[in-house]
């Protein structure tokens, strides 16, 4: 059992713990929207219930991503790694866990936010439910894009970690337990940096896009006749709000590949 194996176990817990945090929040937020809507308009209960289930099924996605990475990390800890004392290998596990865990927070809360506002809007104006449903699904899916970038980076970290830190002279043993070579040091911060960049970078954009989607849903309930204009503002606004997470993806990829 090297330090990389131990870190894989810790990262497994981090991934699932943080991943469940945002998603649970979002799921509850969705249900809150449905319940408030039911109190306002009891006659459309079945509609709200059905749409709540659909919204929750999509909101659950970030938690499923976290679960996938958590399982992969858990079973990486069991493997006989080539370099169990490698700092870079350790950082690649920690980076993968942090990346998917923190990256899921924004996606989970964001998807729930969209569904909450959509259900509220449906209860205000049930006749606009088709338009609202469409914008809700697109908004939820776009709010999860940051989480998907985080999944990509986490899978790359898990795959690439095996080749980590083998460049540079390896003969400097400063501590007895860690072979602390220059290549290892650079590899450590490379992988940890990539995980942090993508993990935190996904939060802001996801919540921002979710706010756009939610407000678009409420706007459609207020003025269904202005649907085309609201949808244009929604598409353009969320495409622009996506760019910070794309910056993060670029930096994470540069750190990984370089």
């Amino acid at each position: 059992m090297g330090i990389a194996n131990l870190m894989a176990l810790l990262a497994c817990g981090l991934a699932m713990g943080f991943g469940a945090l945002g998603t649970g929040w979002g799921l509850g937020f969705t249900a809150q929207g449905a319940i408030r809507g039911m109190a306002r308009q009891p006659q459309i209960n079945p509609l709200l219930f059905r749409n709540m289930l659909v919204g929750q099924a999509i909101t659950e996605t970030p938690a499923i991503f976290s679960l996938v990475v958590a399982f992969l990390l858990y079973f990486s800890a069991d493997k006989h790694l080539e370099a169990p004392y490698s700092l870079a290998q350790t950082a690649s596990f920690l980076g993968a866990g942090l990346c998917i865990g923190i990256g899921s927070i924004g996606s989970g809360i964001g998807s729930g936010l969209v569904a909450h506002h959509a259900l509220t809007g449906m209860s205000r104006n049930p006749s606009a439910q088709n338009q609202i449903m469409l914008v809700m699904l697109i908004g939820q899916a776009w709010a999860q894009t940051g989480g998907i970038f985080a999944l990509v980076i986490a899978l790359l970290l898990l795959n690439g970690g095996g080749f980590a830190g083998l460049s540079g002279p390896n003969d400097l043993h400063l501590f007895s337990i860690l072979p602390l070579s220059p290549g290892e040091i650079v590899g450590f911060s490379r992988y940890l940096g990539a995980g942090i960049a993508m993990g935190f970078g996904a939060i802001g954009s996801s919540i921002g896009i979710a706010y756009v989607g939610g407000m678009a849903c409420r706007g459609l309930a207020t003025a269904p006749e202005a649907g085309a204009r609201i949808k244009t503002a929604f598409f353009v606004g969320s495409a622009t709000a996506q760019s910070p997470s794309i910056f993060s993806l670029i930096i994470a990829l540069i750190l990984l590949i370089r």
Binding site: L53, V54, A57, I58, E60, T61, I64, F65, L67, V68, F71, F75, D78, N130, Q131, L134, L137, I138, A141, Q144, T145, I148, F149, L151, V152, A228, R229, K231, T232, F235, A239, Q242, S243, I246, F247, L249, I250
Partner: protein, 297 residues
């Protein structure tokens, strides 16, 4: 002796005396051609889905009648109405109808692919030879047994894996669909409707010097569409498959987790197929949609 090699890409989980164990399943020998690797399990399952959809739709449309519609006809009419509403709402009332055949095919195909593991046929796998005859490079390599549950140096106990797996749990399937529908169809119709100059203008979107600076970011943004749409459905279906395998191996001797199976396979599979179709329609609409500016002004 003919060996059938299929099952979940992730491998299999076992409940042993020592706790939950995992056997990483080596990939079956892949077909290599012109520098490309073909995963034959995915190809076979994709073909099975296509064939099954063809047979089903043939059966449902056998006796079409305007006066006395059969149940199958009513079902298909509801489906087509639903999809045509989706296309009209997303892409536009005039151009949307043109895309109905594409979007309908996409939805039915992805949905059928997600439902493939509903077929309750399982293979009994006894021992480790299933996993260890080939290594990950497809070379015959009879290694040591992957798990030594009893400590006697022999294979693990027998277990079951599904005969049919969802092709969507392999990334290449949704990635191929995304390339066909978003890249070829979406960007192709963008060029068709706006001309090459109008299409290229999108990449310098704010215009001016700022537009030149934003050009690489716009290109990456377009590529990110492909990544996000394909990884979304892959992660969901793959995660659901892992959850089902873990739960099924945990309570193997008691009962089948019908409710969880219904949720993760039927419900999530249907919703994700719908989301995939709708996002493809949205990306097509962003390239080729009817101008909302003209409508708004």
């Amino acid at each position: 002796m003919v060996k059938v090699k299929t099952g979940l890409a992730a491998g299999a989980f076992f409940l042993t005396e020592g706790g939950l164990a995992f056997a990483s399943m080596d990939k079956p020998p892949a077909l290599r051609l012109l520098g490309l690797t073909f995963n034959h399990s995915t190809i076979i399952h994709t073909a099975i889905v296509a064939l099954a959809i063809y047979v089903f739709v043939r059966l449902l449309t056998r006796r079409l009648s305007r006066e006395h519609p059969q149940r199958g006809q009513v079902f298909l009419e509801i489906l087509v109405t639903f999809l045509s509403d989706l296309a009209k709402q997303t892409i536009g009332p005039n151009r949307g109808v043109r895309y109905l055949p594409f979007l309908g095919t996409l939805f039915i195909f992805v949905w059928g692919a997600n439902m493939l593991s509903m077929i309750p046929l399982r293979i009994n796998q006894i021992g480790g030879e299933f996993f260890n005859d080939y290594n990950s490079n497809g070379i015959y390599d009879p290694g040591e047994p992957f798990i030594d549950a009893n400590g006697d140096g022999v294979h693990n106990p027998g277990f079951q894996i599904p005969l049919f797996e969802e092709p969507t749990a392999d990334l290449s399937f949704p990635a191929a669909l995304a390339i066909i529908f978003v890249l070829f169809l979406g960007h192709g119709s963008g060029i068709y409707f706006h001309g090459i100059a109008g299409y290229c203008k999108e990449y310098f979107s704010p215009g001016g010097i700022m537009g030149v600076c934003m050009f690489p970011l716009n290109v990456i943004g377009k590529l990110a569409e492909l990544v996000s749409i394909s990884f979304r459905i892959f992660g969901n279906i793959f995660g659901g498959a892992i959850i089902m395998t873990v739960v099924a191996s945990l309570i193997y001797y008691f009962l089948l987790p019908v409710g969880m199976f219904g949720y993760f396979t039927v419900f999530v599979g249907t919703i994700q197929a719908f989301v995939f179709t709708m996002l493809a329609a949205t990306y097509i609409a962003m390239e080729a949609g009817e101008s909302t500016e003209a409508e708004a002004d």
